[in-house]
Symmetry: C2
Subunit: 145 residues, 2 copies
Amino acid sequence: MKDIIARLKENGVTLTPQRMAVTEFLSRSRNHPTVDEIHRNIQRRYPTMSVATVYSTLKLLKELGEIQELSIRKRGKACFDPNPGLHHHLLCRKCGKILDIDFNHPSNCPIMAKESIDGCKVEEVQAYLYGICPECLKKESDKKG
Amino acid sequence: MKDIIARLKENGVTLTPQRMAVTEFLSRSRNHPTVDEIHRNIQRRYPTMSVATVYSTLKLLKELGEIQELSIRKRGKACFDPNPGLHHHLLCRKCGKILDIDFNHPSNCPIMAKESIDGCKVEEVQAYLYGICPECLKKESDKKG
DNA sequence: ATCTATATTTATAATGATTATAAATTAAGA
DNA sequence: TCTTAATTTATAATCATTATAAATATAGAT
Ligand SMILES: [Mn+2]
Ligand SMILES: [Mn+2]
Ligand SMILES: [Zn+2]
Ligand SMILES: [Zn+2]
């Protein structure tokens, strides 16, 4: 958190209260919030906060490599990940939660090698899995006995 | 092609000229066309073809597992893949082409194992890579000498 | 072949997340 | 404090997709 703020300053970013609020909210976040969720949460303490500013701040943070954007909800809202590092995600079809999928060794997953695949230069990877999360699987098996 | 038609019949699908046209166009396709591209191409021979029917036919083919939909162009148009089997894709940032990325052995890529990862039941996988295709890489290196 | 009920297609409007715009406000530096 | 540039805000525009309802086509029965 402190780090992000420091890096933003280094990059000459004006640290407005709105930008601080978005950055702070995201870095606290353990899930992958949407623009709406971010906006609503900040508005509770900062009623004049506009959704346009949330968009612009997220764009800024993304361009600086501090966060990443996920398009896992195909035509739905984008979600934002305070962790910009390469990892995969699973969208649970029962509860809608988005889980981090980490292959403990990047070497286990060839698309995490980045660099070059099939003669293509690979600059970004988004791997989206769709299925059912452990919690929902448990609920299902409990119901069935 | 003949196979798809046969399977559609088996599933009790009414084979209208419009549905035939979409199915035929897709199965001929070696790339990953958008709704627009499909519509425009069919309209040349079938001027009354509506875009709504392209949408509805694609939905049908997808539900029957004959094609798959890609959301690799994040907030842009969806593209459709006549090959419903699991494989990855790369979107070239220079030319916009979408390439198939095939790891020759599915065992090389753990997210192709499907079944279960990290206690999650995995039902679908979409791996989107972003970068530069071999053709565009060549053009770049040619320019530089 | 004709009729009828059902399914499909078509044109059109509605949706909804995101982006663009321009006026109002704020921040930074002189 | 004053001035200029950057940022925020409210609002409108965009655009792929989905919903709707009337028109048309299909399939099965007569
Ligand atoms: Mn994540
Ligand atoms: Mn493909
Ligand atoms: Zn779940
Ligand atoms: Zn290319």
